[in-house]
């Protein structure tokens, strides 16, 4: 995968998610002010921004968990606000979301968690579902005995991996990751980066990743979207380093930014 071009909206690329003139806010406070963003098929897009700039809100808006104030969001070329329930389910089958803490269903084992999407959408023999669950577990690097455990018995890093396995259960086209490496030790975070990159290549995923981790950005992303001034600036890490905006300068050229270079 070559690095993506910085300019959004070029016609020759296949935009799998298209956000146009998105406005979001709580009360008087505006979070997104006519924000535009394209996510191309097969790329890993990192979304960064200061605390409270609405990174997670952007993610939640795209997957339909957050009611937007105005603007349009197109996924797979369909405007999500115009879809009926059945059409929305068709789209929901084609994406997977990994929430910050994994959001595993605590009353079910890891294997059952992974099988939830399969059970919801498809009629499959139990044995095949067990096989698929255990295959996904090994894909995300969890040991076999994790299958029968409950989420409370897993560590934070393992929960994230299990959450990723559930997000991948239906072999989606897009995966949304909300701070996948937050709270992981550097070694686990590094392994998670490698895992995301590997899976992205072998499953040809499009990855939309909200993160603060500069190492993750450097290791996995093709392009980076920076939320500043209620809008978005997109580019590769090198292009963004040259951007004069003070926040971007501080972010990429601060001590941590230089260390990750």
């Amino acid at each position: 995968m070559s690095a993506g071009r910085p300019n959004t909206g070029t016609a020759d690329k296949d935009a799998i998610i298209k956000v146009r003139k998105l406005v979001n806010g709580f009360g008087d406070q505006l979070l997104h002010d006519h924000l535009d963003l394209d996510v191309y098929r097969g790329e890993v897009l990192g979304v960064v921004g200061g605390s409270g700039t609405g990174k997670s809100v952007l993610l939640r808006s795209i997957v339909g968990l957050n009611k937007i104030q105005s603007g349009t969001i197109e996924v797979f070329g369909r405007d999500t606000s115009e879809l009926n329930d059945a059409e929305m389910r068709q789209i929901e089958m084609r994406w997977g979301v990994l929430f910050q803490e994994g959001a595993l269903f605590s009353s079910q084992t890891i294997a059952e968690n992974i099988q939830v999407p399969l059970r919801e959408y498809l009629h499959m023999p139990q044995e095949l579902m067990n096989e698929i669950a255990s295959m996904k577990l090994s894909m995300v690097g969890l040991p076999e005995d994790a299958a029968a455990k409950h989420p409370s018995e897993l560590s934070g890093g393992m929960k994230k991996r299990a959450g990723l396995a559930r997000a991948l259960a239906l072999d989606p086209d897009i995966v949304f990751l909300d701070e996948p490496t937050a709270g992981l030790d550097p070694i686990s975070a590094n392994m998670f980066d490698v895992l995301v990159k590997d899976l992205q290549k072998s499953l040809n995923l499009t990855v939309f990743m909200v993160t603060h981790d500069l190492d993750t950005l450097r290791a996995t992303t093709d392009r980076i979207a920076v939320l500043v001034d209620k809008k978005i600036k997109v580019g590769t890490i090198d292009e963004l380093r040259r951007d004069p905006h003070p926040w971007i300068q501080q972010y990429f050229s601060g001590p941590r930014g230089r260390a990750a270079a």
């Binding site: 255990s134 295959m135 299958a147």
Partner: protein, 386 residues
């Protein structure tokens, strides 16, 4: 000589066919082998009859699309054939899926056993054993908890300096007492009406309807007002205690308090227990009055007994003891409700489901204990002749 046949309906999106030659066999996969379409293939692939060929091949080069689940089916089939002693060549897929095939083949090795059978005798014995041990430990836990709370209370009485958090105590009295006034009052009022109506209905037959007031006075003051109030508070405040403390456990707030050196029993449990012990007798008294008003209203409309007559009859019917017998039970009920509520809250594990489970348990247990205690009180009072 080569025979070819469709193993699956040709209109299916995911399909395969078998090509047989005398010495070898070829599985040709076609169409789109994706998660949503492969369920039907599962059984058919298992049912493929290999016969006595020595060599088998899997050819997916004609596939339009395949994902990890589809790849797994091919990999599984290959492994099954190999375990039957066949020679199976490498799986062929379009080049763009090379890394997918590699991931599935190399990262996943053995299919595990996931679900244990829960219905064997062995599993039953195991559950009984686990339950017994758990019960013993829980009993010990409750005992040590009651002991600890008793010590803390005694210490708070002996050294009352900073030990008791007055602000928290007042807050609890407001929360469990004053805020419960509307619901307790309304329900007591309604109970008074119901009791008066049913009593009047029966007593009218003997021309003894005036004794409805005796029934009301004794029934409400001795038993019903206290019991109803305790049950409402168990549902309202006992559950809140468990949920509040339990949520603090989930958020690691209890751990934080412990590391700072704050005694959790002292700060969380004592104000709740003492607050409820103070509030519940007053609530019971309030329920007594509201129940009486309900009864008086019903007597007026149903039996045309005016308020002065009602009060005169009431004075004859009850003594101070009747009232005291009812009110003396309230602090004991309060103690039980608060103890159970806080205890279950401290038992919460670090997950959300456990908060809900223990909250339910706390309400059921405290209502159960309140009624058992009420019966015990009745026996004691009848023995000492009150």
């Amino acid at each position: 000589m080569s025979t070819a046949y469709d193993a699956t309906a040709s209109h299916a999106r995911a399909r395969f066919r078998m090509e047989r030659k005398p010495q070898s066999l070829r599985l040709v996969a076609e169409g789109e082998w994706t998660t949503r379409d492969i369920a039907a293939l599962d059984e058919q692939l298992r049912a493929v009859d290999l016969g006595d060929v020595a060599q088998a091949d899997i050819d997916g080069s004609a596939l339009q699309r395949i994902d990890s689940a589809g790849t797994w089916l091919l990999v599984r089939t290959k492994r099954e054939w190999e375990s039957m002693g066949k020679r199976v060549g490498p799986i062929v897929l379009p080049h763009m899926y090379d890394s997918l095939l590699h991931t599935v083949e190399h990262e996943h090795t053995a299919p595990p056993v996931i679900i244990h059978n829960q219905h064997t005798l062995e599993a039953f014995v195991e559950r009984v054993g686990k339950g017994t041990v758990h019960g013993v430990f829980q009993g010990a836990g409750i005992l040590s908890y009651v002991g600890r709370v008793t010590l803390e209370i005694l210490e708070a009485i002996v050294h009352p300096r900073g030990n008791l958090r007055v602000a928290a105590l007042v807050h609890q009295v407001e929360e469990t007492g004053i805020n419960a006034l509307p619901i307790v009052g309304l329900l007591a009022f309604l109970i008074g009406i119901v009791l008066a109506y049913q009593g009047a209905d029966q007593l009218k037959r003997f021309g003894a309807e005036i004794f409805t007031i005796n029934l009301l006075g004794v029934g409400l003051l001795r038993e019903i007002a206290g019991l109803i109030t305790a049950i409402i508070i168990a549902g309202r405040s006992g559950s809140a205690f468990t949920a509040q403390i339990g949520t603090m456990r989930v958020n690691e707030e209890l751990d934080a308090m412990q590391t700072i050196g704050i005694n959790t029993v002292d700060t969380l449990v004592l104000p709740r227990i003492l607050g409820l012990v103070i509030a519940l007798p007053f609530l019971t008294f309030y329920a007594d009055i509201m129940g009486m008003i309900g009864g008086a209203v019903m007597c007026y409309f149903d039996l045309h007994i005016t308020l002065p007559v009602f009060l005169r009859q009431l004075q004859d019917a009850i003594s101070l003891n009747t009232f005291l017998v009812g009110i003396i039970k309230a602090p004991v009920f309060a103690l039980i409700i608060a103890l159970v509520g806080c205890y279950e809250g401290l038992q919460v594990e670090r997950n959300a489901a456990s908060v809900g489970r223990l909250t339910t348990r706390s309400v059921v247990e405290s209502v159960f204990l309140v009624i058992v205690l009420d019966a015990a009180f009745s026996i004691i009072f009848s023995l000492i002749g009150i």
